[in-house]
Amino acid sequence: MFGFNGVTIAIVLFGIGLLGLIIRRDLVIKLLALGLVNSATILCLVSLGAQESGAPPILTPDMRAAIVDPLPQAIVLSAIVINFAILALALVFVMLLVERYHTTDSARIERESDTEEETWN
């Protein structure tokens, strides 16, 4: 049940990412932790089909073994690209925040944005 396999490691990585998100205050490192959380789910999906005797899901005339389940791999490709998009945009927003608050410390930004007078229009 608690075997040493891809799924277990993926969930452990997921946990590490979550902890990073909770404990570290620097926004850049928070984003790194978020990236780890996302990669962990990808590892989990890929590991669903990984097996010693399977063949990669590419058909060749002389197939000796059955291919591994290709669906998780196919959907994971979309997930990787989506994670990249999220990261790039999040980094841009961090840049904009740094321009205004001159720090990447989330607690500091939180405090300054709360005390800040909102000017409308």
């Binding site: 799924v7 969930i11 997921f14 979550l18 998100l21 909770i22 404990i23 926004l27 928070k30 984003l31 978020l34 959380v37 996302n38 962990a40 789910t41 989990c44 999906l45 669903l48 669906l71 998780p72 959907i75 979309s78 997930a79 989506i82 994670n83 998009a85 999220i86 945009l89 999040a90 927003f93 961090v94 904009l96 925040l97 205004r100 608050y101 989330s106 607690a107 930004i109 939180e110 944005s113 709360d114 800040e116 909102e118 409308w120 229009n121």
Partner: protein, 512 residues
């Protein structure tokens, strides 16, 4: 065919809008017309008794992505369209970049796709597209506070979507399918398999982050209250609802009645408490969105046909009212220059009359005063809730709604000396018309017998008592803070809350 054409056309229009130029606005009108035509056609097909089911690209059921158009999806698609029209009218005179319209097209297109899709992973991609577009729309004006709110939104939603993907992994590993219907069949065959609670908790927890459930969506108040009014209206009316739609889908797969009831009550109560505490008008509306989502969940958790229909009814009514309120309040705030209720009260004369009427209509609808659609929906929903405890909770939430909206009463009566009239009356008129039309329309959704049973004096009495009590609570609390912590809404707390929420859902499914 029509089902997939609806989102694809929107995406194509979005791609064309990327080119910019002066046709951008005309294209957005054309898109609205195309949507209307396709929606009418879908409605006619459904009315003719056809069952709209397709697998995209003509693939076999087991491998392709399935789209289904039914009587749950169509009204919500109509709501999306109605709000798109309202936003188009509201922003008619604003100087907006083509970029805004591109995002709008993509957002609405993906919302249409979300309504019809039956595939879990497809839902994941659509939800991500919705997250990204709405995230960019929240930060559109580039105010630092908006940027910070939407960054938190992105981080928490991304964590939620990762949980959702993990849930997909669990479900796929044990059943080998991503299709909701096939998944439900699998689970019906072996309802006590040990992986089911985990999969359900991960899937529900992940979507709940997007759907505005209190434990999960701690990003929501800031993002909704700091965005520009048109965007807030879309977020509340469309984006949040898409999470709710996916939750409803999941409810057909997993046994989630108790979970929904617990989450619904918690969401409703906390949303109301925070709404009573805050004096920031836009924040008030945002917290209200939470409490109303609570209603929806209670309705869907009550496991009776009437309450489910009521919840659907309420989802649409809430979308219309909340959009109206966000648009009107946004204009009032722009006129006065502050979103503090007390400042607005002092300057109330400068708010245009049409805006104040719109606020009044929205308020009455949300509080549930009889002739308005909110009342019907609420009554239908409640008629299906049988547990006494839950009914009491629903009553408490109603009282709280009235109490928090009593703060707005002083804004309404004044002679208008408005100086900043902007031609947004058309948007109000459109939404007002939709609200007026909604009464007969809801009659086609809800069976006549249930409807007539709710239009009885106990329901009127209940609504009246709730409003009175709410006003009483408002007078009682006046100016006093409830002392609820504000720091709950930071990223760290939000992440912990998501994990805690998933564990709670898991425990509910596993041990109760």
């Amino acid at each position: 065919m029509e089902l997939i054409l609806l989102p694809l056309l929107r995406f194509a229009f979005g791609a064309i809008s990327m080119a910019g130029g002066r046709w951008t606005r005309a294209i957005s009108l054309l898109a609205l017309l195309c949507d209307a035509a396709l929606l009418t056609r879908i409605a006619l097909l459904l009315a003719g008794g056809a069952r709209l089911e397709i697998t995209l690209g003509g693939w076999a059921d087991a491998v392709g992505i399935a789209f289904v158009g039914d009587l749950i999806g169509l009204p919500i698609a109509a709501l999306i369209w109605g709000l798109a029209v309202a936003v188009a009218l509201y922003t008619w005179r604003n100087e907006l970049r083509p970029y805004f319209f591109v995002l709008l097209h993509f957002l609405i297109g993906s919302a249409f796709a979300m309504v019809f899709t039956q595939d879990l992973f497809n839902a994941y991609v659509i939800l991500e597209l919705l997250t990204l577009t709405s995230f960019l729309l929240v930060g559109y004006e580039r105010k630092p506070r908006q940027i910070w709110a939407s960054l938190r939104y992105l981080i928490l939603c991304s964590v939620g979507m990762s949980l959702f993907l993990l849930g997909i992994a669990v479900a796929y590993y044990h059943t080998g399918t991503l299709n909701v219907v096939r998944l439900a069949a699998h689970i019906a065959g072996n309802p006590s398999a040990s992986w089911i609670p985990l999969a359900a908790a991960l899937l529900v927890g992940g979507v709940a982050v997007k759907a505005g459930i209190f434990f999960f969506s701690l990003w929501l108040p800031a993002a909704h209250s700091r965005a520009m009014p048109a965007v807030s209206a879309l977020l509340s009316g469309v984006v949040i609802k898409m999470g709710v739609v996916e939750l409803f889908r999941l409810a057909e797969v997993f046994p989630l009645d108790l979970t929904f009831t617990v989450l619904g009550v918690a969401t409703g109560l906390l949303g109301i408490l925070y709404a009573i505490q805050t004096y920031d008008l836009k924040e008030l509306l945002a917290f209200h969105t939470l409490s109303q989502i609570g209603y929806l969940l209670i309705g869907f958790g009550a496991e009776s046909a009437a309450s489910r229909l009521g919840a659907l009814d309420y989802a649409i009514a809430h979308g219309l009212f909340k959009a109206l309120l966000f648009l009107a309040v946004g204009q009032a705030v722009a006129c006065v220059g502050s979103s503090d209720v007390r400042a607005l009260k002092l300057e109330r004369c400068s708010i245009p009359l049409a805006t104040r009427i719109a606020i009044a209509v929205g308020m009455l609808g949300i509080v549930g005063i009889p002739p308005f659609a909110g009342f019907t929906a609420k009554a239908v929903l409640e008629s299906g809730v049988h547990s006494i405890l839950v009914r009491v909770m629903v009553g408490v939430i109603s009282v709280g709604t009235a109490a928090s909206f009593s703060k707005l009463l002083p804004l309404l009566p004044a002679r208008s000396t408005a100086t900043c009239e902007r031609p947004t009356t058309a948007a109000y008129a459109w939404l007002g018309g939709a609200i007026a039309l909604f009464l007969p329309l809801s009659a086609t959704l809800v069976p006549r017998s249930i409807l007539s049973a709710t239009w009885q004096w106990p329901a009127y009495l209940e609504a009246g008592i709730a409003v009175m009590l709410g006003y009483g609570v408002h007078r009682l609390l006046r100016g006093r803070s409830l002392g609820l912590p504000k720091r709950l809404f930071r990223v760290e707390e939000g992440t912990v809350a998501i994990v805690a929420g998933v564990l709670i859902v898991f425990a509910l499914l596993r041990f109760v």
